[in-house]
Symmetry: C2
Subunit: 155 residues, 2 copies
Amino acid sequence: MIEMEPIGTVRSPRGEVEDDNWGDVVSTIELRADLAAESLDGLDEFSHAEIIYVFDRVTQDKVVSEARHPRNNPDWPKVGIFAQRAKGRPNRIGTTITRIVKRTGRILEVVGLDAVDGTPVLDIKPVMREFLPREVVRQPVWSRELMANYWHTQK
Amino acid sequence: MIEMEPIGTVRSPRGEVEDDNWGDVVSTIELRADLAAESLDGLDEFSHAEIIYVFDRVTQDKVVSEARHPRNNPDWPKVGIFAQRAKGRPNRIGTTITRIVKRTGRILEVVGLDAVDGTPVLDIKPVMREFLPREVVRQPVWSRELMANYWHTQK
């Protein structure tokens, strides 16, 4: 077993887990008090940051690895948990690329973080073009349908 | 503290940590024996997978959060650990988008995984275009210079 200590916490206007409409959500990540604020120095030279966090509201009985229909939609094929980005997964890790708004001391403000208020954050990484896919991305139709409203704004 | 159990292990021709030339490295990820093989079902419908792993060879005394020059290069500015993707970071998590070659049972073969042989894997996620940056990516010059040979092949 590997032990992890959250480096900070998400502060979000969203207190409840929702499937869609994360596009215009503005959140902050507050670093743990014993971590040096300078650990964020230079991050705002990047436009985007990848946030690695824990779906901490998922209880162990909701973690599955058997193939199932994403969002229980019978129109979509049964796929394994590692072919989905659903939260009920072993180790309950979420990773999301967000747009950086600003950094102030030990607080990072971002847009488009799909994590609810109070979510523990494990890591923050700068997004470099070199770490994005270097070939055309291919994905099944069900995943495009599932994502149709994910980033839609609520306005 | 949050406990994580690796879901599998990296098998790589690279046994030693190296800075560069990861582009043509072919690795496999072998799922833990008690995880259902079907947890990978459907993943090969995607061209790319994000691998979340642990830099397990980094000892606690090598984890820093103070600002420093990336790769100790004085030509580059001092930046905090969360403005870098270096391995000596709190929780020692690495995340890399790899190209999927094939999946056979509980084994996933990928190209471009920058993790050495024996690395514990925490999660595997399909890459969806919708989770890539939705705006132009901006990044500082030092990061482009640092990445210049990262994916270069060794041939």
